[in-house]
Symmetry: C2
Subunit: 204 residues, 2 copies
């Protein structure tokens, strides 16, 4: 059975959510952040970067949310709940949105989070960089969701998981007040029964 | 024929490199950064984020280096030059290293680059975060390369492309002086004939 190493509170609840959507049975090992909100050193015994999510499946130890999601889809999705599109170009766009929340999408929102922890005056180069890109990225995502309830159309798909993670981060740093559609989207995603079960099982 | 939108100087030379390793024929459209090193607005007509690499292939416009690489491997690699491992667990680790340079690997080095542009005193939260993680990540990569000339063993594979990008960024911000093995690795990667051809074709 897959074991999920989960650092509370953190993004690995989204990996648990993916497993819940797939109907998988899995164990959770919970780690608590120290007073500086860093991961405890015990996580480094599991994977050298000491981050979470990490899963163990037999003799495989696997990090990186995107790689874990691909592994689950390729090996633990017999019903095709998260099967990627068959058409090569649709699949390419599926991959683009699957990797985006951890690749180019992540940086502006995480910078905003780090900047919120700095005293004033805020470092101008980083602040300018983050501010310009936050608007750019939110408009990009907002346009993608303009005509559909889910990221890739009328149906929930694997890229909705990472996108919810990203927008939840944006919301936490106060970036969604001018984006009611994005706020509504994460509310709908996080109201899914599978997300609730993942929260219950991991403690959030 | 695939068209690569390439912002000089930038990471899309690594997409060109992948196409050269695959023996692909492709066109390059070159964009020049403005005086602030930002992309020109014309790139936003191609893709809303206005970044590069972006490829066009018929009616497909695709961003995100990782997604582009997967698309090339799945559709333009008849010889299996970059075919992922068949074994499910080996493939999982292949995916982990494929997404890593743009996911958790990217942040500490890019933060170091941004910090280098800030006046002193450097913002302490961000500086502490970056410094701790740079060492962690370099040690992680160094250990992975300890026993093999390439990231995943005795043979060059697709994850070597992103890793060279990441380590070249680390090198540019002066982080590799204590890591001769990593310096040697990027020297070997960038001496590959396919990399040289990509540089020639894109202007770097």
């Amino acid at each position: 059975m897959i074991k999920l190493h989960h650092l509370r509170i953190g993004r690995s609840v989204f990996t648990a959510w993916a497993m819940e959507e797939l109907g998988l049975d899995y164990n959770v090992e919970i780690y608590i952040r120290d007073e500086n909100r860093r991961a405890p050193p015990t996580l480094r015994h599991i994977h050298p970067l000491g981050k979470s999510p990490v899963i163990e499946d037999g003799d495989l130890t696997l990090a990186e949310s995107g790689a874990i999601l691909l592994y689950l889809i390729e090996n633990y999705d017999p019903q095709g709940v998260f099967a990627p599109p068959v058409d090569a170009k649709e699949k390419a766009l599926w991959s683009q949105w699957l990797v985006y929340p951890e690749a180019s999408g992540f940086l502006p929102f995480f910078l905003t989070l780090l900047l919120s922890m700095e005293e004033k005056p805020k470092p101008p180069v980083i602040a300018n960089y983050a501010n310009a890109d936050v608007t750019l990225h939110l408009n990009y995502i907002d346009a993608q969701l303009a005509d559909n309830p889910f990221l890739l159309g009328p149906e929930f798909s694997a890229p909705d998981i990472g996108m919810t993670y990203l927008l939840e981060l944006a919301n936490r740093v106060g970036q969604l007040s001018d984006y009611p559609r994005l706020k509504d989207y994460i509310d709908r995603m996080m109201a899914r029964p599978a997300f609730k079960r993942a929260q219950d099982k991991t403690g959030g």
